[in-house]
Symmetry: C2
Subunit: 560 residues, 2 copies
């Protein structure tokens, strides 16, 4: 090493590689690589969009990590929402022994997942706000930040090239329900010391102003509940423990007991209460089996399904398909959430069904009983202003949100060439001299979870499902005499998703068409493959002419 040069100036580059969460909402996952060491922040999942037919979940493609398996030293978790931890069960099996660091509540909530998926090969270690851990060349420090789950954290990674700040999901809530404020001190101190790069949550980069405090939701609950005589049902996110706490508190204010209904909310509430993150109301809890016996004016039900998910509590109660609760006249429902993009129609349908059942419903458009857990523009500028980063990578958001967040960064003084609006798989590489540039893209896509399979269902399967979904399928079985090439008996037809039944006139025409195709074979049709091809083409064309629809056609030729 040349004397007089600072050591870092000759070291390896530092790479930040996004495998999830940039250019999309969900499956957040960010890789930090320096020399022979990699730490990963978060490992989330996302829910399929409407074009991913039959897919259960989407998790990140971690080819990049698998190819560097020995480098991977730790997974750090910012908080236990599914879009930050839901990918772990599908990713950890490839990284046995690599520890997962998470806060107390996150470890508690992860516990069920670990048990369910039998993930015993990875130690789950404590990592609390204020704590620092050394992982190879990285010193990781967790700091408290506000979000719609307790114990949410941001993470500072001190590296040989400088400090990197990853905000996690955040907002600045000055009156949080649990009284625990965001750690402004560390952010301001980092700003003084110098931040090489800030990675900050862009979910609400399009929203001007400040996001209101979670506490305002409790006020709304009380305003709604005060005049009511009947039962109250509040639907919200199972993981939003602060929101559940406020349901409990509002119920207590009006002398009501609380029942918690919905598997994920029951589990989360139990864990959170055990760990001291949730306080039951002094008025008491009602087991769901006793809901029918409890006088309506003395009860608040907290439940899941605020996104209208067809199988969750609220939708089933609205459809009168729930074992313990049927919602009807006299009931008041509070939908304490706003629809996540893609869920709008589900939410709308559920609200409509509740009204049809005679319930009164308070929802977004008529009474605000929800606030976001994400920072709006003024908070994002505050984060930028406190940390004063040299470089900026907006994360957690669709592409246009990253663009808007980048504009905010420019407004606060980050030089335009140091702002990187990137998509998954686009690494940013920091040189020893502190400059940064885009490096060659790496694999980073969707891995589909469908039933038991992880990654086996790919684009071809989805393309076929799309074709089947659009126009259905058409199987034709013909038996051909090997000697004469003549058709034996009638072609057999099976069709689904195309016409209502085999008596449809188009079917009769199809049989004629097939018979004619075989009766008049062209050259080479002695080959079964060619005969099949001929039937398929002729039949597809005929069906399209007749119906302007294109079912998938499957010819089966049996030679006897």
């Amino acid at each position: 090493m040349a004397i007089g040069r600072p050591p870092a100036a000759t070291g390896p580059p530092l790479r930040i590689v996004p495998l999830g969460g940039v250019g999309e909402i969900g499956k957040n996952m960010m890789v930090f690589e320096y020399g022979e060491d990699i730490v990963v922040i978060d490992c989330g999942l996302m829910f399929p969009d409407e074009e991913m037919f039959g897919i259960d979940l989407v998790v990140p493609d971690v080819t990049y990590l698998r190819e560097r398996r020995d480098k991977v030293k730790a997974f750090l978790i910012t908080h236990a929402h599914e879009d930050h931890v839901g990918g772990l069960p599908y990713v950890l099996p490839d990284f046995p022994g690599v520890p997962v660091y998470a806060s107390t509540l996150a470890r508690g909530l992860l516990g069920n997942k670990i048990k369910e998926h039998k993930l015993t090969e990875n130690p789950i270690l404590p990592f609390e706000a204020g704590q620092s851990i050394q992982i190879g060349p990285f010193e990781a420090t967790a700091f408290r930040i506000g979000h719609s789950i307790p114990d949410a954290m941001g993470i500072v990674l001190r590296t040989p090239l400088g400090a990197i700040v990853h905000t996690g999901d955040f907002k600045f809530d000055h009156t949080p329900v649990d009284g625990k404020l965001s750690d402004f001190a560390i952010l301001a101190k980092l700003g003084e010391e110098g931040v090489l790069c800030l990675l900050s949550d862009s979910t609400r980069a399009e929203s001007p102003g400040y996001t209101p405090s979670e506490r305002t939701v409790g006020d709304a609950f009380r305003e709604i509940m005060e005049p009511l005589q009947g039962r109250v049902i509040v639907a919200t996110f199972a993981s939003n423990i602060a929101r559940v706490q406020q349901v409990f508190d509002a119920a207590e204010t009006f002398g009501r007991k609380v029942a918690v209904v919905g598997r994920s909310m029951e589990q989360n509430a139990r864990v959170a209460a055990e760990l001291g993150y949730l306080r039951f109301p002094s008025t008491g809890m009602v087991p769901k089996e006793k809901i029918r016996e409890t006088p309506e004016g003395e009860l608040v039900i907290a439940t899941t399904g605020a996104q209208g998910e067809p199988m969750a509590g609220l939708a089933r109660m609205a459809n009168r398909d729930h074992r313990f609760v049927e919602i009807g006249p006299g009931d008041t429902v509070i939908v304490s959430a706003s629809a996540i993009p893609g869920n709008e129609e589900y939410v709308a349908r559920t609200i409509d069904n509740l009204f049809k059942n005679g319930a009164n419903v308070f929802y977004d458009a008529v009474k605000r009983a929800h606030v976001s857990g994400h920072a709006s523009q003024e908070e994002l500028k505050l984060m930028l202003g406190m940390t004063k980063p040299r470089h900026f990578i907006p994360i957690h958001g669709e592409f246009r949100m990253l663009v808007q967040h980048g504009r905010l960064a420019a407004l606060t003084g980050v030089p335009a060439q140091n702002i990187f609006i990137i998509e998954n798989g686009q690494p940013i590489e920091f040189q020893a001299d502190g400059t940064a540039r885009r490096a060659a893209p790496v694999p980073a896509g969707y891995v589909f979870v469908d039933g038991l399979s992880v990654g086996e269902v790919g684009d071809i399967v989805l393309r076929d499902r799309r074709a089947l979904a659009n126009d259905g399928m058409f199987i034709v079985v013909v038996t051909v005499d090997k000697q004469t090439g003549n058709i034996v008996g009638q072609p057999e037809i099976v069709t689904r998703g195309f016409v209502a039944g085999l008596e449809d006139p188009v079917i009769g025409g199809a049989v004629e068409r097939i018979t004619a195709a075989i009766a008049n074979p062209g050259d080479h049709t002695s080959e079964i493959a060619l005969l099949k091809e001929q039937i398929k083409e002729g039949l597809s064309r005929y069906l399209y002419e007749q119906t302007k629809r294109r079912p998938m056609v499957f010819p089966v030729v049996v030679e006897i």
Copy 2:
């Protein structure tokens, strides 16, 4: 007739039968029936939701009208939006000779539809704002009302039992772009004379306050365009002639020419200009073939696809898949629309793609360049206050919107028992004494248009498409010796949308399972139908155990 009794008190009831547009957005259609006469207001379509796989359009089920074919005397059209006229091509063939009454612009825009679908059996007759026509016992008077298309009208039906006011789609715009104000005089006069029933647009019954004037959009266009040097692309609805006019006017202000791109917008603009509803800019029009030759700073492009529709102008320009326009750095795009429920993801994806191409985009969240064509709560109350209806039926809206509109009506003094929140197929019957009640429901559902078929694709076909979309299909063909019952050769398997290929290990297991099923037949399996059933059950169970997925299984047994 008994002397001294008013004649109406012994007459037949008046029925209002909604066949579309209540409890949903779209396919608006309302039937008015008195004795032997029926008039129908509007006949719209709606676009399929995400669960209607492969469906092109949804039109009203008019069984009720078909069963009373001889009573149907006229279709009255409030305005030429697809959700009010798009069902005509599919409904009119059942009612040859029945006239369609519409305003000048509506007739102009209907012209193309008439030609395309060869609808020559129905006269299309003039019905202009201010005009009255007598149809049997009904006197129909059209009145001008503001909406996002010129020549929009409400309709008063004077009946033997009293006046019925149908607002059509409306807002009160005091500074409309075409200068033509809503007809307050007739509404106020009706309020004085007495209105038996008001049917009023509920689309924005959830929105407090007033909807801003269409003119404010022109101001936004000018603010955005003023500093720009590059090309400007404005995407909006093809039918919103006032909006297109404002694009023309803003372009003119800054000395830019205009090109119109997109089949429906080109057609509509031509018709509207011919009929005097659209004024071309003095700066000139550019044919789309000449767009590439026009200096970027001198051009505004008006186009379709503001809903992100994958095949429309904007999405194709964003995907660099358009013949005449590719959007890239230096271009500014204005999305002058808000996403219709269900289209949010399309719109978001299109905006993201535009940003990825390097364009700047002004959209809802960052700059308002759109206003609704529908009345907000204060306007709805104004409508109620002016017409002072005895009964009220909120129309044009999802169920929760109808509920909110009903609450507004109650606030303005309509007695609660005279407010009817109903769904399609729920008739309201007015007796000769002026009282109203719900009558027995009538058929009113969805008719699916899919390719050439109208109404042939039903729930069973959709259910099968859904199953195919979720987990694909699995065909197994076995050849069995008729004499011995033994399988001949290997079972043949064809699968799509299930596993990636036939080399998947689950396929090998399936073949073994089938062979075993046939080798060990239970009782009765000499019957082919039972053998098939056995293969299907065994195989479905095996595939589910192996994959936790349920492809549709089709066994084909060929006996030789």
